[in-house]
Protein backbone atom coordinates (compact mmCIF):
# COMPACT_ATOMS: atom_id res chain seq x y z
CA UNK A 1 0.00 0.00 0.00
CA UNK A 2 1.22 3.42 -0.98
CA UNK A 3 0.57 6.50 1.12
CA UNK A 4 -0.24 9.34 -1.28
CA UNK A 5 -0.70 13.10 -1.10
CA UNK A 6 -3.37 13.56 -3.79
CA UNK A 7 -2.48 17.06 -5.03
CA UNK A 8 0.68 19.16 -4.93
CA UNK A 9 1.75 22.04 -7.17
CA UNK A 10 5.50 22.12 -7.87
CA UNK A 11 7.44 25.02 -9.44
CA UNK A 12 6.43 27.10 -11.46
CA UNK A 13 2.96 26.96 -9.85
CA UNK A 14 4.59 26.92 -6.43
CA UNK A 15 7.99 27.89 -5.04
CA UNK A 16 9.43 24.38 -4.64
CA UNK A 17 10.83 22.14 -7.33
CA UNK A 18 9.49 18.65 -7.87
CA UNK A 19 12.69 16.98 -6.61
CA UNK A 20 12.74 19.05 -3.45
CA UNK A 21 9.06 18.28 -2.81
CA UNK A 22 9.90 14.59 -3.16
CA UNK A 23 12.76 14.89 -0.65
CA UNK A 24 10.46 16.57 1.87
CA UNK A 25 7.63 14.12 1.20
CA UNK A 26 10.02 11.25 1.95
CA UNK A 27 11.01 12.90 5.25
CA UNK A 28 7.36 13.25 6.17
CA UNK A 29 6.53 9.59 5.54
CA UNK A 30 4.74 9.82 2.19
CA UNK A 31 5.39 7.22 -0.52
CA UNK A 32 3.80 8.98 -3.44
CA UNK A 33 2.55 12.40 -4.56
CA UNK A 34 0.21 13.49 -7.34
CA UNK A 35 1.85 16.45 -9.07
CA UNK A 36 -0.30 18.76 -11.11
CA UNK A 37 1.26 19.26 -14.53
CA UNK A 38 4.35 17.19 -13.74
CA UNK A 39 6.25 15.82 -16.73
CA UNK A 40 5.87 12.06 -16.47
CA UNK A 41 5.38 9.38 -13.88
CA UNK A 42 8.74 8.95 -12.14
CA UNK A 43 10.40 7.68 -8.99
CA UNK A 44 12.37 10.50 -7.35
CA UNK A 45 14.17 10.00 -4.01
CA UNK A 46 12.05 6.86 -3.41
CA UNK A 47 8.84 8.83 -3.87
CA UNK A 48 6.55 7.87 -6.73
CA UNK A 49 5.46 10.96 -8.68
CA UNK A 50 2.17 10.62 -10.51
CA UNK A 51 1.07 13.08 -13.12
CA UNK A 52 -2.22 14.75 -12.32
CA UNK A 53 -4.22 17.23 -14.34
CA UNK A 54 -6.51 19.66 -12.56
CA UNK A 55 -9.45 20.62 -14.76
CA UNK A 56 -10.90 23.98 -13.81
CA UNK A 57 -13.86 24.37 -16.15
CA UNK A 58 -17.05 26.38 -16.08
CA UNK A 59 -19.15 23.89 -17.99
CA UNK A 60 -19.39 20.15 -18.46
CA UNK A 61 -18.54 20.46 -22.18
CA UNK A 62 -15.15 21.88 -21.23
CA UNK A 63 -14.61 19.03 -18.77
CA UNK A 64 -15.45 16.42 -21.42
CA UNK A 65 -13.06 18.05 -23.91
CA UNK A 66 -10.22 18.24 -21.36
CA UNK A 67 -10.77 14.67 -20.15
CA UNK A 68 -10.61 13.35 -23.73
CA UNK A 69 -7.45 15.37 -24.35
CA UNK A 70 -5.63 14.51 -21.14
CA UNK A 71 -6.69 10.99 -20.21
CA UNK A 72 -3.97 9.30 -22.27
CA UNK A 73 -1.08 11.23 -20.75
CA UNK A 74 -2.27 11.87 -17.17
CA UNK A 75 -2.39 9.30 -14.39
CA UNK A 76 -5.14 11.12 -12.55
CA UNK A 77 -7.73 13.62 -13.67
CA UNK A 78 -8.96 16.00 -11.00
CA UNK A 79 -11.91 18.32 -11.51
CA UNK A 80 -12.52 21.48 -9.49
CA UNK A 81 -15.98 21.37 -7.94
CA UNK A 82 -18.66 23.81 -9.00
CA UNK A 83 -22.37 24.03 -8.27
CA UNK A 84 -24.62 21.03 -7.59
CA UNK A 85 -25.58 20.31 -11.21
CA UNK A 86 -21.97 20.55 -12.39
CA UNK A 87 -20.74 18.21 -9.65
CA UNK A 88 -23.41 15.60 -10.40
CA UNK A 89 -22.49 15.63 -14.08
CA UNK A 90 -18.73 15.52 -13.37
CA UNK A 91 -19.15 12.64 -10.93
CA UNK A 92 -21.13 10.65 -13.50
CA UNK A 93 -18.57 11.10 -16.27
CA UNK A 94 -16.22 8.17 -16.75
CA UNK A 95 -12.61 9.30 -16.79
CA UNK A 96 -12.79 11.72 -13.88
CA UNK A 97 -10.90 10.34 -10.88
CA UNK A 98 -11.18 13.00 -8.20
CA UNK A 99 -13.48 15.93 -7.46
CA UNK A 100 -11.67 18.56 -5.40
CA UNK A 101 -12.28 22.01 -3.96
CA UNK A 102 -15.65 21.34 -2.34
CA UNK A 103 -14.72 23.69 0.50
CA UNK A 104 -14.98 26.66 -1.84
CA UNK A 105 -18.00 25.39 -3.79
CA UNK A 106 -21.46 26.91 -3.23
CA UNK A 107 -23.80 25.62 -0.53
CA UNK A 108 -25.42 22.23 -1.22
CA UNK A 109 -22.94 21.59 -4.04
CA UNK A 110 -22.47 18.04 -2.79
CA UNK A 111 -25.61 16.24 -1.70
CA UNK A 112 -26.81 12.65 -1.37
CA UNK A 113 -27.39 12.35 -5.16
CA UNK A 114 -23.80 13.39 -5.88
CA UNK A 115 -22.61 11.03 -3.15
CA UNK A 116 -24.51 8.14 -4.75
CA UNK A 117 -23.06 9.03 -8.18
CA UNK A 118 -19.54 9.13 -6.72
CA UNK A 119 -20.03 5.75 -5.05
CA UNK A 120 -21.44 4.16 -8.24
CA UNK A 121 -18.71 5.49 -10.54
CA UNK A 122 -15.87 5.14 -8.04
CA UNK A 123 -14.94 8.83 -8.19
CA UNK A 124 -13.10 10.08 -5.11
CA UNK A 125 -13.85 13.27 -3.20
CA UNK A 126 -10.76 15.13 -2.14
CA UNK A 127 -10.25 16.55 1.31
CA UNK A 128 -7.89 19.47 0.89
CA UNK A 129 -5.96 20.33 4.04
CA UNK A 130 -4.80 23.69 2.67
CA UNK A 131 -7.86 25.62 3.95
CA UNK A 132 -7.52 24.02 7.40
CA UNK A 133 -3.89 25.07 7.65
CA UNK A 134 -3.91 28.46 5.98
CA UNK A 135 -7.34 29.92 6.60
CA UNK A 136 -8.67 31.35 9.82
CA UNK A 137 -12.11 32.22 11.16
CA UNK A 138 -15.30 31.88 9.12
CA UNK A 139 -13.52 30.63 6.03
CA UNK A 140 -11.94 27.70 7.91
CA UNK A 141 -15.22 27.01 9.70
CA UNK A 142 -16.92 26.71 6.31
CA UNK A 143 -14.29 24.19 5.15
CA UNK A 144 -14.66 22.18 8.36
CA UNK A 145 -18.47 22.16 8.00
CA UNK A 146 -18.15 21.01 4.40
CA UNK A 147 -15.72 18.19 5.25
CA UNK A 148 -17.94 17.05 8.15
CA UNK A 149 -20.81 16.82 5.69
CA UNK A 150 -18.70 14.92 3.12
CA UNK A 151 -17.61 12.52 5.86
CA UNK A 152 -21.21 11.90 6.93
CA UNK A 153 -22.15 11.07 3.33
CA UNK A 154 -19.01 8.95 2.92
CA UNK A 155 -20.03 6.83 5.91
CA UNK A 156 -23.48 6.32 4.39
CA UNK A 157 -22.61 5.79 0.69
CA UNK A 158 -18.98 4.55 0.91
CA UNK A 159 -17.57 6.62 -1.96
CA UNK A 160 -13.76 6.89 -1.94
CA UNK A 161 -12.00 9.80 -0.25
CA UNK A 162 -8.54 11.18 -0.92
CA UNK A 163 -6.50 13.58 1.18
CA UNK A 164 -4.28 16.26 -0.28
CA UNK A 165 -2.19 19.07 1.13
CA UNK A 166 -2.60 21.31 -1.94
CA UNK A 167 1.02 22.24 -1.29
CA UNK A 168 2.61 24.98 -3.35
CA UNK A 169 5.68 24.97 -1.14
CA UNK A 170 7.53 22.40 0.94
CA UNK A 171 6.28 24.37 3.94
CA UNK A 172 2.72 23.30 3.10
CA UNK A 173 3.40 19.55 3.11
CA UNK A 174 2.28 17.67 6.20
CA UNK A 175 3.36 14.32 7.65
CA UNK A 176 1.04 11.35 8.01
CA UNK A 177 0.89 11.98 11.77
CA UNK A 178 -0.13 15.61 11.21
CA UNK A 179 -2.68 14.65 8.54
CA UNK A 180 -4.30 12.25 11.02
CA UNK A 181 -4.45 14.98 13.67
CA UNK A 182 -5.84 17.60 11.27
CA UNK A 183 -8.52 15.24 9.95
CA UNK A 184 -9.55 14.43 13.52
CA UNK A 185 -10.63 18.08 13.85
CA UNK A 186 -13.68 17.38 11.65
CA UNK A 187 -14.25 13.91 13.10
CA UNK A 188 -12.35 11.62 10.73
CA UNK A 189 -11.14 8.45 12.44
CA UNK A 190 -7.49 7.32 12.03
CA UNK A 191 -8.51 4.21 10.05
CA UNK A 192 -10.54 6.40 7.67
CA UNK A 193 -7.51 8.65 7.17
CA UNK A 194 -5.38 5.60 6.43
CA UNK A 195 -7.90 4.35 3.86
CA UNK A 196 -8.08 7.80 2.25
CA UNK A 197 -4.28 7.98 1.94
CA UNK A 198 -4.29 4.63 0.13
CA UNK A 199 -7.20 5.52 -2.19
CA UNK A 200 -5.14 6.88 -5.11
CA UNK A 201 -3.66 3.42 -5.67
CA UNK A 202 -7.14 1.91 -5.78
CA UNK A 203 -8.32 4.59 -8.24
CA UNK A 204 -5.52 3.73 -10.65
CA UNK A 205 -6.05 0.00 -10.36
CA UNK A 206 -9.79 -0.47 -9.90
CA UNK A 207 -11.01 -3.93 -8.99
CA UNK A 208 -12.21 -5.64 -12.19
CA UNK A 209 -14.64 -8.50 -12.61
CA UNK A 210 -13.55 -11.93 -11.39
CA UNK A 211 -12.07 -14.03 -14.20
CA UNK A 212 -12.00 -17.79 -14.35
CA UNK A 213 -8.54 -18.92 -15.45
Amino acid sequence: MVCTDACVFPYPRGDTSLRRLCLEARNLGLDSIVCIDAGERAQIHDVLVRRGVLIEAGSMQEVVARVKKEQRTADLLLVRAGDGAFNRAALSYRGVHILRGLDSAPKRAFDQVSAKNAADKGVAIDIDLFPLIHRRGASRQKALRCYRDVLRLHRKFSFPLTISSGARSLLDLRSVREITRLCAVFGMEPHEVEDALFTVDALLEPAGPVEVI
Binding site: Y11, P12, D15, T16, S17, R19, R20, L23, E24, L28, L132, I133, H134, R136, G137, R140, S169, L170, L171, D172, L173, R174, S175, R177, E178, R181, L182, A184, V185
Partner: protein, 160 residues
Protein backbone atom coordinates in the same frame (compact mmCIF):
# COMPACT_ATOMS: atom_id res chain seq x y z
CA UNK B 1 6.01 30.58 48.85
CA UNK B 2 6.83 26.93 49.29
CA UNK B 3 6.70 24.94 46.02
CA UNK B 4 4.14 22.19 45.73
CA UNK B 5 5.37 18.64 46.36
CA UNK B 6 5.72 16.58 43.14
CA UNK B 7 2.62 14.47 43.85
CA UNK B 8 0.42 17.59 43.95
CA UNK B 9 1.87 19.17 40.82
CA UNK B 10 -0.04 19.00 37.60
CA UNK B 11 1.35 16.52 35.07
CA UNK B 12 2.90 18.07 31.98
CA UNK B 13 3.81 16.84 28.54
CA UNK B 14 6.51 18.18 26.24
CA UNK B 15 6.25 18.22 22.44
CA UNK B 16 9.25 18.38 20.14
CA UNK B 17 8.54 20.07 16.80
CA UNK B 18 10.80 20.44 13.78
CA UNK B 19 10.98 23.95 12.31
CA UNK B 20 11.12 24.20 8.51
CA UNK B 21 13.26 25.83 7.16
CA UNK B 22 15.70 24.91 9.93
CA UNK B 23 17.87 28.03 9.62
CA UNK B 24 15.06 30.45 10.56
CA UNK B 25 15.96 31.99 13.91
CA UNK B 26 12.78 32.65 15.82
CA UNK B 27 12.68 33.86 19.40
CA UNK B 28 10.75 31.69 21.87
CA UNK B 29 8.44 34.61 22.59
CA UNK B 30 7.60 35.08 18.90
CA UNK B 31 7.02 31.34 18.54
CA UNK B 32 4.70 31.46 21.55
CA UNK B 33 2.71 34.26 19.89
CA UNK B 34 2.40 32.24 16.67
CA UNK B 35 1.50 29.02 18.52
CA UNK B 36 -1.04 30.75 20.74
CA UNK B 37 -2.70 32.41 17.74
CA UNK B 38 -2.94 29.01 16.04
CA UNK B 39 -4.29 27.41 19.21
CA UNK B 40 -6.99 30.01 19.89
CA UNK B 41 -8.10 30.26 16.28
CA UNK B 42 -8.46 26.47 16.00
CA UNK B 43 -9.85 25.51 19.41
CA UNK B 44 -11.18 28.78 20.83
CA UNK B 45 -10.21 30.73 23.94
CA UNK B 46 -11.89 28.39 26.44
CA UNK B 47 -10.08 25.26 25.24
CA UNK B 48 -6.80 27.14 24.74
CA UNK B 49 -6.82 28.29 28.36
CA UNK B 50 -7.26 24.68 29.53
CA UNK B 51 -4.29 23.43 27.53
CA UNK B 52 -1.71 25.63 29.36
CA UNK B 53 0.61 25.79 26.40
CA UNK B 54 4.08 27.33 26.74
CA UNK B 55 7.15 27.42 24.52
CA UNK B 56 10.08 26.08 26.54
CA UNK B 57 12.84 26.55 24.00
CA UNK B 58 13.13 27.56 20.40
CA UNK B 59 16.47 26.75 18.81
CA UNK B 60 17.35 26.66 15.10
CA UNK B 61 15.64 23.61 13.61
CA UNK B 62 13.38 22.65 16.49
CA UNK B 63 11.33 23.90 19.39
CA UNK B 64 9.95 22.34 22.57
CA UNK B 65 6.41 23.14 23.65
CA UNK B 66 4.89 22.29 27.02
CA UNK B 67 1.25 21.55 27.72
CA UNK B 68 -0.99 19.74 30.20
CA UNK B 69 -1.10 15.96 30.08
CA UNK B 70 -3.84 14.68 27.72
CA UNK B 71 -3.76 18.01 25.86
CA UNK B 72 -0.89 17.08 23.54
CA UNK B 73 -3.20 16.07 20.67
CA UNK B 74 -4.84 19.49 20.63
CA UNK B 75 -1.52 21.32 20.82
CA UNK B 76 0.07 19.17 18.10
CA UNK B 77 -2.87 19.84 15.79
CA UNK B 78 -2.60 23.57 16.40
CA UNK B 79 1.18 23.50 15.80
CA UNK B 80 0.52 21.92 12.40
CA UNK B 81 -1.51 24.99 11.41
CA UNK B 82 1.28 27.50 12.06
CA UNK B 83 2.32 29.11 8.78
CA UNK B 84 4.13 32.23 9.93
CA UNK B 85 6.26 33.37 12.85
CA UNK B 86 8.01 36.70 13.31
CA UNK B 87 6.77 37.72 9.85
CA UNK B 88 8.56 34.81 8.15
CA UNK B 89 6.98 31.77 6.53
CA UNK B 90 7.64 28.64 8.59
CA UNK B 91 6.12 25.23 9.18
CA UNK B 92 6.21 23.19 12.38
CA UNK B 93 6.14 19.41 12.24
CA UNK B 94 5.54 17.77 15.64
CA UNK B 95 7.96 14.86 15.99
CA UNK B 96 7.62 13.39 19.46
CA UNK B 97 5.85 13.80 22.78
CA UNK B 98 7.31 12.95 26.17
CA UNK B 99 6.94 13.54 29.88
CA UNK B 100 10.48 14.90 30.19
CA UNK B 101 12.56 17.33 28.16
CA UNK B 102 15.53 15.01 28.65
CA UNK B 103 13.80 12.24 26.67
CA UNK B 104 12.90 14.64 23.87
CA UNK B 105 16.48 15.85 23.47
CA UNK B 106 17.42 12.34 22.28
CA UNK B 107 15.23 12.92 19.20
CA UNK B 108 16.98 16.14 18.21
CA UNK B 109 19.22 15.73 15.20
CA UNK B 110 22.19 18.01 14.53
CA UNK B 111 21.44 20.87 12.17
CA UNK B 112 23.25 20.60 8.84
CA UNK B 113 25.47 23.53 7.96
CA UNK B 114 24.90 25.34 4.71
CA UNK B 115 27.36 26.81 2.23
CA UNK B 116 26.54 30.07 0.46
CA UNK B 117 26.21 29.87 -3.31
CA UNK B 118 25.86 32.68 -5.81
CA UNK B 119 25.17 33.30 -9.47
CA UNK B 120 22.24 30.99 -9.96
CA UNK B 121 19.83 31.76 -12.79
CA UNK B 122 16.30 30.43 -12.82
CA UNK B 123 13.71 31.67 -15.28
CA UNK B 124 15.91 34.59 -16.27
CA UNK B 125 16.31 35.87 -12.69
CA UNK B 126 19.44 35.93 -10.58
CA UNK B 127 19.44 34.19 -7.23
CA UNK B 128 21.80 33.71 -4.32
CA UNK B 129 21.28 30.91 -1.88
CA UNK B 130 22.46 28.34 0.65
CA UNK B 131 23.46 24.83 -0.30
CA UNK B 132 22.69 22.08 2.21
CA UNK B 133 23.35 18.36 2.35
CA UNK B 134 21.47 16.06 -0.05
CA UNK B 135 21.84 18.78 -2.71
CA UNK B 136 19.13 21.01 -1.23
CA UNK B 137 19.41 24.66 -2.23
CA UNK B 138 17.31 27.48 -0.79
CA UNK B 139 17.40 30.48 -3.10
CA UNK B 140 16.70 34.16 -2.55
CA UNK B 141 16.02 36.52 -5.41
CA UNK B 142 18.59 39.29 -5.62
CA UNK B 143 17.38 42.83 -5.19
CA UNK B 144 15.32 44.77 -2.70
CA UNK B 145 11.85 44.16 -4.08
CA UNK B 146 10.10 40.77 -4.42
CA UNK B 147 12.64 38.75 -2.45
CA UNK B 148 10.91 35.45 -3.07
CA UNK B 149 12.38 32.21 -1.75
CA UNK B 150 12.66 29.13 -3.93
CA UNK B 151 13.38 25.61 -2.71
CA UNK B 152 15.32 23.58 -5.26
CA UNK B 153 17.95 20.87 -5.58
CA UNK B 154 21.30 21.16 -7.37
CA UNK B 155 20.11 19.04 -10.31
CA UNK B 156 17.57 21.64 -11.34
CA UNK B 157 19.75 24.73 -11.58
CA UNK B 158 22.18 26.41 -13.89
CA UNK B 159 25.12 27.47 -11.68
CA UNK B 160 27.55 29.95 -13.27
Amino acid sequence: MKPRPPTLREKRRYILARIVPHYRRIEARQMYIAAFEALTSLWGDARASELQMAVISCEPGHCIVRCRRNAEVFVETALSTITEAEGERVALHPLATSGTIHALRKHIRPIPEGHPVDGIAIGGREYAGILFQRQKVDLYAKGIKNQETLYFTCDEMEVD
